[in-house]
């Protein structure tokens, strides 16, 4: 079977260190350009700048209809990988080929404007997520029903509770019908009933052939949902396999 995501040797280096170096001023740029002989305005960081590899040599294949869970401690590179797959940031080395349209929900309130109403935000957010206007109109009722915000459609979203924010954000992303769905830690603030609804939705889109990559600290939902799990550790895939086994080994590290 042909993979829908094919990633090879993906690496991402972040520059760290002094604050002024992370966001250089012109004076620093001038100083560094003299020192490193780098171009002034478009100057890259010098080779001796302190850095960290958030991802190293990550290679994998993901198939249509597969739900893959990514687990690991904070700073293991899970979110960085999703950001790269969502094209928000570019890898430093390697690359990935996507054989389908990607949809992502990295953080919940993406693109919501607090002064606009729920209705207006659905259109705005749908557009930013890549939906055409008539496509949004067609899905509108479905999104509203899923998010359970019928009574608050014409209320500004700044008056929404965090739960309503989350429901609306997930509802829009979940109705995009992407070929690849990337979800980063989106269910953490959802209540039990909405979590169940989201998990059901993820299952049903994967039955339709969508590949889902799911980053979560909720190990139970990873077991329930995923056919495969990746355990990330310090930017590398530490272990890959059936969720039960991967999670058991992951937890064993902490009990030891």
């Amino acid at each position: 079977m042909k993979p829908i995501i094919k990633a090879a040797n993906v690496g991402k280096k972040y520059y760290i260190g002094a604050r002024e170096a992370a966001r250089p001023t012109w004076r620093d740029a001038l100083k560094n350009s003299v020192r490193n002989n780098a171009p002034l305005l478009l100057g890259r960081y010098g080779p001796h700048h302190p850095s960290i590899w958030a991802l190293k040599n990550v290679s994998f294949e993901i198939f249509p209809g597969e739900v893959v869970g990514i687990i690991g401690t904070n700073g293991a590179g899970k979110s960085t990988l999703l950001r790269i797959l969502a094209r928000v940031t570019r890898p430093t080395t390697g690359g990935a080929d996507l054989y389908g349209r990607g949809g992502s929900l990295l953080g919940v309130s993406t693109g919501f404007h607090p002064d606009l109403t729920g209705r207006e935000n659905i259109y705005l957010n749908g557009a930013i997520l890549g939906m055409k206007r008539n496509e949004i109109s067609r899905k509108f009722d479905e999104i509203v029903a899923f998010a359970e915000i019928e009574d608050f459609l014409d209320t500004q979203t700044k008056r929404y509770s965090s739960g309503m924010y989350l429901r609306l954000g997930f509802a829009i992303a979940a109705h995009l019908e992407p070929d690849i769905l990337l979800l980063d830690e989106v269910l953490t603030t959802a209540d039990v009933s909405f979590q169940k609804k989201c998990l059901d939705r993820i299952k049903s889109v994967s039955h339709d052939g969508t590949a889902v990559v799911f980053v979560s600290h909720n190990l139970k939902s990873v077991t329930q949902l995923c056919q495969r799990a990746f355990h990330f550790h310090r930017g590398e895939i530490h272990e890959e396999g059936k969720p039960d086994a991967v999670i058991a080994n992951y937890l064993r590290k902490f009990s030891a």
């Binding site: 079977m1 966001r23 597969e66 570019r90 054989y99 993406t110 705005l124 557009a127 055409k132 070929d179």
Partner: protein, 302 residues
């Protein structure tokens, strides 16, 4: 008919056993990747088709900003005329009445208001597009779309303001009985050119502002200087002939001169206009390239 069946079977037979034997729907994948994710190179070619593909986003971003503004403010649209009218009033009294600055035979208030409209548009469009990436950092760090849409939308919003404020220009012209001639058909061309110029500068400063916050401090100062080296409150004809060519390197000279000529039925300074078009287009090309080069690091730096 039979070939399509063959095609379908060839795809199905291509399937090797997936890991862990999950039953998956046979989804027809394209032969070539839809998206190739690769490291950023120093020099990348610009894909303007991408901005076109994201035009819906552009429309919604403009719509969002206009809508929010009119929700938050009491008199909404009226605010966009306050700045040019106040400035025109001050210049009309001090420069027009007291100093008697020559205005090509046009009543000074109309003469100044025409340029104030253009200037208010230019400076506000450049400022808001400069800040657009940083203001929308929440979106940039969470979702991919053509980032060029952000500064472009900021210019679009100001263009709408410009159109609204233009109504008063025609009110002034009727009041002062300014004669309009065939040259008025040239007007949209200069509006288009100034929009491209504002976009060119705004795109460049937006990209630089993500990395160098100095831009936020420097830009208002430079804009103020730019206003006075442009024929906003005086006519370009006061510049000595031997300096005119150098003076015309400021693209606003050709644009503001052309805009007034079109409006007040005066003769066009074609040399100045051609120079301004060339400078504007070169600036746009450079800006787009810089923006595109820095684009790959926006999400990491904003």
């Amino acid at each position: 008919m039979s070939t399509s069946v063959n095609d379908a079977t060839s795809i199905v037979s291509d399937l090797s056993a997936p890991p862990f034997g999950i039953e998956r729907p046979a989804k027809l994948l394209p032969a070539d990747p839809v998206t190739r994710i690769r490291p950023a190179r120093f020099w990348e070619t610009i894909d303007l088709r991408e901005l076109w593909a994201h035009r819906e986003v552009l429309y919604f971003l403009i719509w969002r900003d206009l809508k929010v503004r009119y929700k938050q403010t009491m008199i909404g649209a009226a605010w966009v005329v306050v700045q040019p009218i106040l400035m025109t009033l001050v210049f009309a009294v001090f420069l027009g009445r007291f100093i008697r600055v020559p205005s090509d035979g046009i009543p000074y208030p109309v003469f100044a208001y025409a340029a104030m409209l253009l200037w208010t548009f230019t400076s506000s469009a450049i400022l808001s597009s400069s800040y657009s990436l940083v203001t929308n950092s929440q979106i940039i760090t969470r979702i991919y779309f053509s980032r060029l849409a952000l500064p472009t939308a900021a210019v679009g919003v100001r263009l709408v303001d410009f159109m609204i404020a233009s109504v008063f220009l025609f009110v002034f012209m009727i009041y002062y009985r300014v004669q309009v001639g065939w040259t008025i058909v040239m007007l949209p061309l200069f509006v288009a050119e100034i929009a491209v110029l504002a976009l060119a500068v705004g795109v460049l400063t937006a990209a630089l502002y993500v990395r160098y916050r100095d831009v936020g401090t420097l830009l208002p100062i430079l804009l103020q200087v730019w206003m006075f080296v442009s024929p906003t409150v005086y006519s370009a004809s006061i510049v000595p002939a031997r300096l005119r060519l150098i003076y015309s390197l400021n693209p606003l000279v050709g644009i503001m001169g052309g805009f007034r000529s079109a409006l007040f039925n005066l003769s066009f300074d074609w040399t100045g206009i051609i120079i301004s078009v060339v400078v504007t287009l070169v600036l746009l090309a450079v800006s787009l390239q810089v923006f595109h080069t820095l684009d790959s690091s926006f999400a990491d730096e904003v």
